[in-house]
């Protein structure tokens, strides 16, 4: 993973919105113990920075944010996943059933 960024690089930053003690009473305890954090992508405004540095960025709509540099040229991590055995036979079984139905229909005729 790239550790350094220069001005104009597309980066992801983190910033904190609420510390745990600022969070309201009505939310579940397990959530209340954690901070409310945010992440946003943008073009780095400062000349140079390393992961962990405080930087400012300009987003796709040209708004400025300040936060901690957490990723340089952030990648998409979601995928189509692994093959799931429980799903794999659904289609073939149903199609066989339809073919069987079509065959029965032909026999009747």
């Amino acid at each position: 993973m790239k550790k350094n960024a220069k001005q104009g690089d597309w980066v992801k930053i983190h910033f904190r919105i609420l510390e745990p003690h600022d969070r309201p009473d009505h939310i579940p305890e397990e959530t209340r113990k954690t901070p409310l954090d945010a992440y946003v992508n943008g073009f780095m405004s400062v000349e140079e920075a390393q992961l962990g540095d405080r930087v400012s960025i300009r987003t796709l709509i040209d708004r400025e944010y300040k936060g901690t540099l957490v990723e340089v040229f952030p990648a998409h991590t979601h995928s189509f996943g692994k093959a799931i055995p429980a799903l794999l036979e659904i289609g073939p079984k149903l199609r066989a059933k339809i073919r069987e139905g079509a065959d029965d229909h032909r026999k009747v005729q």
Binding site: I17, P28, A38, V40, G101
Partner: protein
């Protein structure tokens, strides 16, 4: 950017919202909790003719209505003799950003553009974000989307990561937050700072944008089959989908068509819990929104919610996560349509209901959504497995949200569970008592409630009395 203390901002929420939505909601209030809903929809909404024009100009709507012949034939084969209704699908995935949400966004963004707002903001982790971003691109307006994406460990829900990617690809600034209802607080901060329009899901123009969906279903069915559908099945979460579709059907004179809501059953999972957040495989179209928004619509970001599902819902069914994943595979391999799982919630319910209906009856499944990395069965189930959720085949009624997903082995096992609407109505009245802090309501307020949840005023009075009795017993 200065982050103000939570309570200070929340205290200003009405003032912030008024500027950002441009509606004086107090105009529609009549007495206490009562307001003139139809007046609000007429005056603050757009007429159906205006909406059709708006949507045509940004290529929204007029989506295909497809008869699912293979699924229909299969359903008839596994149903008692004479049963097995025909199933049609409204392929809303064909909209520009891949879901029916484009209909809502088209009117909201048009409205923002018309009133000279420099940009639009939406707080949504769902398809609505991409819809708003797509429409904003067409009008060259700036767009900001706020999402609840991660748990406290920074693990993102794959469905929401995909939606974030989509919004960014469409040119929006996307702020992705960790779990918590304070997303609304930060949303207020952003509205105040940017002066952007709140493209809320719950404004009259947003809801009226969906009316064309109902109208298209009714009109095309009449043209093709010389009749209106017997049932239209609508995935229900926040209530806008159902409200808008039902209103559209009525405007097209499909008065006999039953409007049935369907949600994925996520009972037991708390929507604001850091622990439960990544233990669900559906982030939309589920009971975590469906039940709260049915029984207390005005929990929305705007003071008076235009989405009022109990006003229009004839019935409400729940399906399991496993049943919807199975249905998604069915749709792909029997009809050649790869579509996202959440958008198949109502198709899943339709398959179960069709088996109990007559074979000459017609069900229309009112939507589909696009599919992609992160929002397809293999992605969502891989994520579930990685989080210790058991995934196996068997009886789907053994599904335990947060712990176990059971994929049916046979289509016959899909068995939607009917929700008792009388219980929801009782909860609605209970919520009115809670939110107002009183148990005495005027004649006008009682009349409003009766209209809002489709029952007689006497029933409202009876429900209020039983709450009073309950309080007296304490």
């Amino acid at each position: 950017m200065t982050i103000e203390k939570y309570n200070d901002v929340m205290a200003r929420k009405n003032e912030i919202m008024k500027k950002a939505v441009g509606i004086d909601y107090d105009r529609f209030r009549t007495e206490g909790i009562a307001f003139d809903y139809e007046q609000m929809m007429q005056e603050a909404g757009y007429s159906i003719e205006e909406i059709i024009k708006i949507q045509m100009s940004t290529s929204v709507g007029n989506t295909p209505l497809i008869e699912l012949k293979n699924i229909g034939n299969l359903v008839r084969r596994i149903s008692p003799k004479g049963k097995g209704a025909r199933i049609f699908l409204k392929d809303e995935a064909c909209n520009p950003s891949g879901s029916f949400k484009d209909r809502r966004a088209s009117v909201s963004v048009f409205h923002a553009h018309k009133h000279g707002f420099p940009g639009v903001v939406a707080a949504t982790s769902g398809n609505y974000g991409a819809a708003v971003a797509s429409q904003a691109a067409k009008y060259n307006l700036k767009c900001m989307i706020l999402q609840e994406t991660f748990d406290s460990k920074g693990v993102g829900q794959p469905e929401i990561l995909e939606k974030g990617r989509s919004c960014e690809a469409l040119g929006a600034e996307v702020v992705q937050m960790t779990v918590g209802p304070e997303l609304f607080y930060y949303f207020l901060v952003c509205l105040e700072e940017t002066g952007f329009f709140n493209a809320s899901l719950y404004t009259p123009f947003g809801i009226s944008g969906i009316e064309t969906l109902g109208m298209e279903i009714a009109t095309e069915m009449k043209l093709r089959e010389n009749r209106y559908p017997d049932v239209v099945l609508v995935t229900h979460a926040g209530g806008g989908n159902l409200t808008g579709t039902a209103r559209g059907l009525r405007k097209a004179h499909a008065d006999g068509t039953r409007v049935i809501g369907a949600s994925v059953d996520l009972h037991g999972l708390h929507m604001a819990s850091d622990v439960d957040f990544n233990r669900k495989s559906f982030t939309t179209g589920h009971t975590g929104f469906g039940i709260p928004f049915a029984v207390f619509p005005d929990r929305s970001d705007v003071p008076l919610n235009a989405a009022r599902p109990l006003r229009y819902m004839d019935d409400y069914y729940l399906v399991t996560q496993g049943e919807v994943f199975y249905t998604t595979e069915m749709l792909a391999q029997l009809e050649g349509l790869q579509r996202g799982p959440a958008g198949n919630t109502s198709l899943c319910a339709a398959i179960g209901l069709a088996r109990k209906m007559e074979k000459n009856q017609i069900i229309v499944v009112q939507e589909t959504e696009y599919t992609s990395a992160g929002k397809c069965p293999s992605a969502q189930l891989s994520f579930a497995l990685d989080h210790g959720i058991r995934v196996d085949c068997g009886d789907p009624s053994m599904d335990e949200p947060g712990n176990r997903i059971v994929i049916p082995e046979r289509t016959e096992q899909i068995a939607p569970k009917k929700v008792d609407l009388t219980k929801l109505r009782a909860s609605y009245v209970n919520q009115m008592v809670k939110s107002t802090g009183r148990v005495d309501f005027s004649h006008e307020e009682i009349r409003f409630m009766a209209e809002d949840i489709r029952c007689h005023s006497d029933e409202i009075k009876r429900l209020i009395q039983s709450i009073k009795n309950g309080l007296n017993d304490q």
